[in-house]
Symmetry: C2
Subunit: 352 residues, 2 copies
């Protein structure tokens, strides 16, 4: 139960076991996407021509053309993006959860009493089946223990170090390389048309801020996430610093997304992108505004190039945010645009 | 005790009584400021030449000149401003508190039981001495009752309407006209040099956001303030909306200012402006960063053109944020720049 030597491999095995638990999927290789020049207006080079790409182009034209009835003043152009599963890979586990699992052995070195206490004991055991069965409450304990109790600066340094070395098993790539190239193009295209792009994530606000500027060009102040309190204090030399407290201020999931948008942005978005039930209210809130509003959901239906889960597979809800069949039905009913990774994207990653 | 007809005058009398409680001050008219062209670099036309103006110009040069050792990348240029008493008049009472007092009669129409309950009974009585004696806890009850329990849209509409009509007794001007012209010039000057300007206020975030864009050119997402939670729900037609909840998420005063800055901005400011003990930690946090950091406190020492309170007058702490003698000493010790309204500003208001 004290296999510290293998804490990097703990997450890898957890990843593998979670992967193994997924249903077998047909392994048909997609035809290689033909090289194609960037669309003159959009620059959405990784998108196939069709109604999804056209919906983005039409929305931008409608909101930025001064002669349009749906014209939006530049200062009101807000676009919000879920992160996990919308901007980058969320399978088989949220990257931040892997980070937290990886921190447990480090934490147990400093606080040896944790080695005898659940759920830390399970994480340290390397028993992946047991880890996969951890309850949400247990996960919460792990998150609080590994994400709080240190200074903001210490946390930032640790997270940055981890992100520069930890790799996703399937691609043997840094997690920060596993962003979706077509979504990167949407971010750039919207920003090029005067939109402020925000991440609105159920993930930890501080964690995402560590890399969002470098990875997405999104500065810390445009990252809204699940956020805990901090406590202002002084070190022994009288220098002030902030400590991350185990106190939840904003659970930025489900209804927490529009609530977080109000708290942190104070305006209703004109465009919102998500991929799971956790994004439902954000899209709904966006859609309840006047004029042209873009509501898009990403469907993971490409097991070859990424993963396939959600309504196409009829998978049950899981710990990882899911695109349930009910959400799929609601999207169709409300006219939200569902993006098929398989059919609408020429390529998934920049490194392909 | 039910003088609803006079609810506009309630605040006026409260204002008057608070004014009356202030010590008599010599009424020497200042010499009219000579017209002077804008400084080539700064455009700080309402500032007298001298070390305070120079400190601002030097800071901007140090942080924006690429050859400077203190050069700051554009994305890191964050400047934070307290509002009440730093950007606009806070005497004899915070504008938002006057708004809340004015809302009590409206609220009592809808909820008549409040007419028999303290502290609402006192506010409705028009007894200004009794109102002036209300405790902080009583004030809190009034704030919660008048600022929560309605939808965000309703609140915004009510606050906007009030701000378009309510006037400050002394100048017979809208409150939104009572911003300090020299500070408006600092905001513009910093923005012109690539700084993102934020309001970081102990006042209500939602209240300030109603006018900050129009009055200061500061968009809602750059207003950090004392913030309550909201609750996502649906109206009878199934349309989603947010309700303001009586749940405090962030008390953006004192240590709450750096905590709020971390939550909402996620970066340490390079410049911070305040005028009271409530801003102490924000300036301290700003000053604890590397490189050139501008820390400025505004001293209200101009009874003719505005008000005089704080260390110059030896006034005791009061409900209104104060620049205590202790803060004055700390500023001198730490090298924070103290701006004298009387000596450093050619004019106070744009309408002068």
């Amino acid at each position: 139960m004290k296999r510290h030597d293998g804490h990097a491999s703990v997450s890898r095995r957890a990843v593998l076991s979670a992967l193994a638990a997924m249903p077998a999927l047909p392994m048909i290789l997609p035809a290689p996407a033909p090289a194609q020049p960037a669309t003159p207006g959009g620059g959405l080079a990784s998108w196939n021509e069709g109604p999804k790409k056209q919906a983005i182009l039409d929305f931008v034209r409608a909101t930025t053309d001064r002669s349009s009835a749906s014209y939006v003043a530049p200062e009101d152009r807000i676009a919000t993006f879920d992160q996990d599963g919308t901007l980058w890979v969320e399978q088989p586990m949220y990257t931040q959860v892997i980070y937290c699992f990886d921190r447990v052995p480090v934490l147990a070195e400093k606080r040896p009493e944790l080695k005898r206490v659940e759920p830390f004991k399970t994480v340290l055991s390397g028993n992946h089946e047991a880890m996969a069965r951890l309850s949400l409450r247990d996960l919460e304990k792990i998150l609080f223990a590994t994400l709080t109790g240190m200074s903001v600066d210490e946390f930032n340094a640790e997270a940055k170090k981890w992100l520069e070395t930890a790799r996703h098993h399937r691609w043997n790539r840094l997690y920060t390389e596993l962003t979706y190239q077509p979504m990167q193009e949407v971010l750039q295209y919207l920003r090029g048309n005067g939109f402020k792009t925000y991440i609105v994530t159920g993930g930890g606000q501080d964690f995402v801020r560590v890399y969002a500027e470098k990875v997405y060009g999104i500065p810390p102040e445009q990252v809204v996430g699940t956020a805990g309190g901090t406590k202002y204090g002084y070190d022994k030399d009288g220098k002030p610093f902030l400590t991350k407290e185990p106190k939840l201020l904003l659970n930025d999931n489900n209804a927490g997304k529009p609530e977080g948008i109000h708290l942190m942005i104070g305006r209703r978005p004109y465009a919102a992108f998500g991929n799971s039930t956790g994004d439902r209210q954000m899209l709904e809130y966006t859609g309840a505004g006047n004029g042209a509003r873009l509501k898009m959901l990403l469907l993971h239906d490409d097991a070859q190039r990424e993963y396939a889960y959600g309504p196409a597979q009829g998978l049950p809800d899981s710990r990882v945010g899911t695109f349930t069949p009910a959400l799929y039905d609601e999207a169709k009913k409300k006219g939200w645009t569902v993006i098929s990774m398989k059919n609408d994207w020429k390529r998934i990653f920049a490194f392909e």
